[in-house]
Amino acid sequence: GESVGLHLPTLSVQEGDNSIINCAYSNSASDYFIWYKQESGKGPQFIIDIRSNMDKRQGQRVTVLLNKTVKHLSLQIAATQPGDSAVYFCAGLRRASGSRLTFGEGTQLTVNP
């Protein structure tokens, strides 16, 4: 089957530092990945996505890297702020399986002032 998972359940950083959250996936047929942020009591909020024909994509303060060789993706947050504290999920989609997203378990990011 297909699985998407994260390396660390928690990550604590100092305000202003860069954060790196990692994710691994098992199915090489996954062709689209999304990072979501979930704050307490809220639904997953879209951050950034990347297609399998890319290895890097940049947004505002965020960068996603995709390494298809080792089936790994990461989310980099520059100059982390207290408002970035949340649970971060990676999710993958395989076109052949329709449009269902397969989520990882999430990393709780805590930003210390």
């Binding site: 639904g43 997953p44 449009s99 269902r100």
Partner: protein
């Protein structure tokens, strides 16, 4: 910014009763989804809906569950004869057409369903 809205935010129901969870997807979106998240676990796919029919469902989505788009704006999830293990956060999501399925799904803030 347009958003997916879900009601109610919290639903408490006796075991065995029926519940209907409601969602208003983003207005120009055509693909709709339900996911659930049991406390402390990952978000799990339940069902996807397009063109007034189910396009895909997971093994969780058995005969106890049904979805409907009763009008041009609402998308509902009905759970018949609820069980204790149905207690979870239920999230609705939608996505836009245009480039097919590789578009980000946008989520509502969920309905917390508590079965007593």
């Amino acid at each position: 910014e347009p958003e997916v809205t879900q009601t109610p935010s919290h639903q408490v129901t006796q075991m065995g009763q029926e519940v209907i969870l409601r969602c208003v997807p983003i207005s120009n979106h055509l693909y709709f989804y339900w996911y659930r998240q049991i406390l402390g676990q990952k978000v799990e796919f339940l069902v996807s809906f397009y063109n007034n029919e189910i396009s895909e469902k997971s093994e969780i989505f058995d005969d106890q569950f049904s979805v409907e788009r009763p009008d041009g704006s609402n998308f509902t999830l009905k759970i018949r004869s609820t069980k204790l293990e149905d207690s979870a956060m239920y999230f609705c999501a939608s996505t836009s057409p245009g480039q097919g399925i590789n578009q980000p799904q946008h989520f509502g803030d969920g309905t917390r369903l508590s079965i007593l």
